[in-house]
C-alpha cells in the first residue's frame, strides 16, 4: 500500500500557510518539526480543563493534572520500549538531559576518569562534557569520523579503556545523517564498566524505539523534533542506574524531607525533576508520540528513503560537470536519516537559505548546525541542510530543486 502523505500533511494546519505568496515547503525538520492539530488540541484541552500544578495538590484539577502528567510519562515509556514509566525523566529538552547526566554522573568523577564522545556530536553532546572536565579534571576523548560522516569505530578498542566512565554518542548525526551502530559500542562499553548514553534527538522522530535492544544505559531526546511542543525533553535511564545517581538540581518536587541543614531526595524519576515540570508540554509530547506510533511507519520509512535518495541524486545530477556541490554523509542507497547537508563552492549557506525562503517558500537551515568541530574537520565554514518529515511531499523536493537552480544561476 502506498503511504498517503497528503492525508498525513492535511493534519498539520501550519502547512497551508504562505511564505511571501509561495506555498510553504518546510524542510527544516531536523531543527524543529511541525505539530499535528491533534497535539495542539490535546494541549488546549489540558490548559482549559485541567491546568494546575502536579504532585502535591489534593483538589480536583491538581489530581487530574497529575494523572495526565504521569500518563504522559507512561506513553513515553511505551514509545521507548522501557520497562516502566519510572525510567522516564522529563527535562526541558535533549540539551538539558545531557547536561543533567553530566552533572549527576560526574559528581564522583576525578582526574584519570575518562568520558568518550565523537567528532560527530552536536554541541549539546560536547559542551556539557567539556564543562565536566573543567569541574573535575577528567579526560575527554573523541572518536574520529570517517570520510562518509560516520563515527569511526576502528579505534573503539583503544578508545574505551578501563578508565572510561561514560561513552556518550549521537544515535544519528544532525549533519551527515549517519546512524550509529550502537550495539557494537554498547557491548564494549559495558565490558569495560562504562555507562553508554545515546543522543537520540535525530533518531527518536522516526518511530517507536527499543532502547534496551540498543544496549544503551541512557537515551535522550527532545519533544520539538518528534512532532511535539518545545520546552520538554526526555532522559530514559535504566532504573537500577537512576536509583544510584544523585540529583543534579535541587528544589521543590524532588525531596522527601528537608531541614535547615540537609535534605533527602525522592526516588527516580522525581529525584531529577526539581521545580514545576513542563506539564502541558508533557501532555502534548504524549499526544505526539501516540499519534506518530499510529501512523504507517513502514510506509513513512519507504517514502522518506525515496525522497532522500531523490535529494541526493538530484544534487549530484545538478552538479554533473561542475563539481561545486559537496554532499556530506553516507552515499546514496546506504542507510541514513532523511536529511541531506551540502556545501556549494562560492555560495554561502545563508544566501542559499535566503533565496530559497524569499523566492520559493522553501525553509532550509544553513550554518554549522551546532556542529562546529565536524565542519572544521571537513574544512567547511558551514553547510545547507534539507531535512524531511512525515509530511514532506514530492512537491517540496521539486520546489527545493527549482530554488537550487535559481541560486546556482544567480550566484554564479
Amino acid at each position: 500500500m502506498t503511504y498517503d502523505v497528503d492525508r498525513v500533511a492535511a493534519q498539520f494546519s501550519i502547512l497551508t500557510r504562505l511564505v511571501q505568496d509561495n506555498p510553504l515547503h518546510y524542510l527544516d525538520n531536523a531543527a524543529t518539526s511541525q505539530v499535528p492539530d491533534c497535539v495542539i488540541e490535546a494541549m488546549v484541552t489540558h490548559e482549559t480543563t485541567r491546568r494546575a500544578n502536579v504532585k502535591r495538590g489534593v483538589h480536583l484539577l491538581s489530581e487530574e493534572a497529575d494523572e495526565a502528567y504521569e500518563e504522559a510519562r507512561a506513553e513515553v515509556a511505551r514509545y521507548l520500549g522501557a520497562d516502566c514509566p519510572d525510567e522516564v525523566v522529563f527535562t526541558s529538552g535533549a540539551t538539558a538531559g545531557i547536561n543533567l547526566l553530566a552533572l549527576s554522573l560526574g559528581q564522583d568523577m576525578k582526574p584519570g576518569d575518562e568520558v568518550l564522545i565523537s567528532q560527530l556530536e552536536h554541541h549539546s553532546n560536547i559542551i556539557p562534557w567539556q564543562m565536566l572536565r573543567q569541574r573535575t579534571g577528567i579526560t575527554l576523548r573523541y572518536l574520529p569520523v570517517t570520510r562518509d560522516g560516520r563515527i569511526d569505530l576502528n579505534d573503539l578498542e583503544r578508545c574505551i579503556t578501563g578508565n572510561t566512565r561514560v561513552v556518550a554518542l549521537t544515535h544519528g548525526s544532525n549533519v551527515t545523517g549517519a546512524i550509529t551502530n550502537a550495539g557494537a559500542i554498547a557491548a564494549l562499553a559495558h565490558d569495560r564498566g562504562a555507562r553508554f548514553m545515546l543522543d537520540g534527538a535525530q533518531t527518536a522522530p522516526h518511530g517507536p524505539l527499543e532502547v534496551k535492544a540498543l544496549g544503551a544505559d541512557f537515551y535522550v531526546f527532545s519533544s520539538h523534533k518528534v512532532y511535539g511542543p518545545s520546552g520538554i525533553g526526555v532522559i530514559w535511564g535504566k532504573q537500577e542506574l537512576l536509583e544510584r545517581m544523585p540529583p543534579a538540581f535541587g528544589g521543590g518536587e524532588m525531596i522527601e524531607h528537608v531541614d535547615m541543614e540537609t535534605f533527602t531526595s525522592m526516588s527516580p524519576p522525581h529525584r531529577f525533576e526539581a521545580g514545576t515540570p513542563p506539564i502541558t508540554q508533557a501532555v502534548g509530547l504524549a499526544a505526539a508520540l501516540k499519534w506518530l506510533g499510529a501512523q504507517d511507519l513502514e510506509g513513512i520509512y519507504r517514502h522518506l528513503t525515496y525522497l532522500t535518495d531523490q535529494l541526493i541524486e538530484g544534487l549530484e545530477h545538478m552538479d554533473r560537470g561542475r563539481e561545486r556541490i559537496r554532499i556530506l554523509g553516507p552515499v546514496r542507497g546506504e542507510e541514513r536519516l532523511p536529511l541531506v547537508s551540502f556545501s556549494v563552492d562560492g555560495i554561502h549557506p545563508h544566501d542559499i537559505c535566503q533565496i530559497m525562503n524569499d523566492h520559493h517558500g522553501v525553509a532550509l537551515r544553513g550554518g554549522h548546525h551546532c556542529a562546529q568541530p565536524l565542519h572544521d574537520l571537513y574544512g567547511l565554514d558551514g553547510t545547507t541542510r534539507a531535512s524531511l518529515a512525515v509530511y514532506t511531499r514530492k512537491g517540496d523536493i521539486d520546489a527545493f530543486f527549482e530554488g537550487m537552480e535559481h541560486c546556482l544561476e544567480m550566484f554564479t
Binding site: 545563508h350 524569499d358 550554518g367 565554514d381 544567480m410 550566484f411
Partner: protein, 139 residues
Amino acid sequence: MKKDLYGDQILEWAERSEHMGAIENPDYEATATNPLCGDKVTIQVLMDGDTIRQLCCKVRGCLLCKASCVHLAHMAGGLDRTDLKDLRDGFEQFLKADDDTMDLPSHEMFSPVRSHKSRYRCVLLPYNAALKALPEPEK
C-alpha cells in the same frame, strides 16, 4: 512583499576586491565572529594619529557581510573611533527603523535588510570587528 535582498548594488559590492586582504604592518587588528553561523571578519587598520588612514578586511561570510565589509572599508578613511561608533549605531538604527521613517543615504542599498532581522548581524559584523580593533579613547 519584501524588497529583494540581493539587489544589483549589494551583489556588485560583494564582488569588489579592493580593501580585501591584509595590511603589512597594521596598527590595530581584530576578528569578530557571528556565533549563529560561524562567519568571521578580520579587520586591520592603519592609523594617522587618531583617525583611520586605511582599513582592510578578510571575510569568511555571506554576500551581505562581504558587501558591508567593502562598503565600510570605503567609508572608513578619516574616521576616528567615535565617528565609527556613530556610523555603526546609525546603521543599526536605520536597519531597525520602520521603512521610510529614517534616511541614511550612504547605506540605502542595505534597506532591504530591514525586513530580515536575522541578517542584521551579517551587515553589522564588519563594524563590530572594526570597533573591536580600535582602542577606546582613554577617559
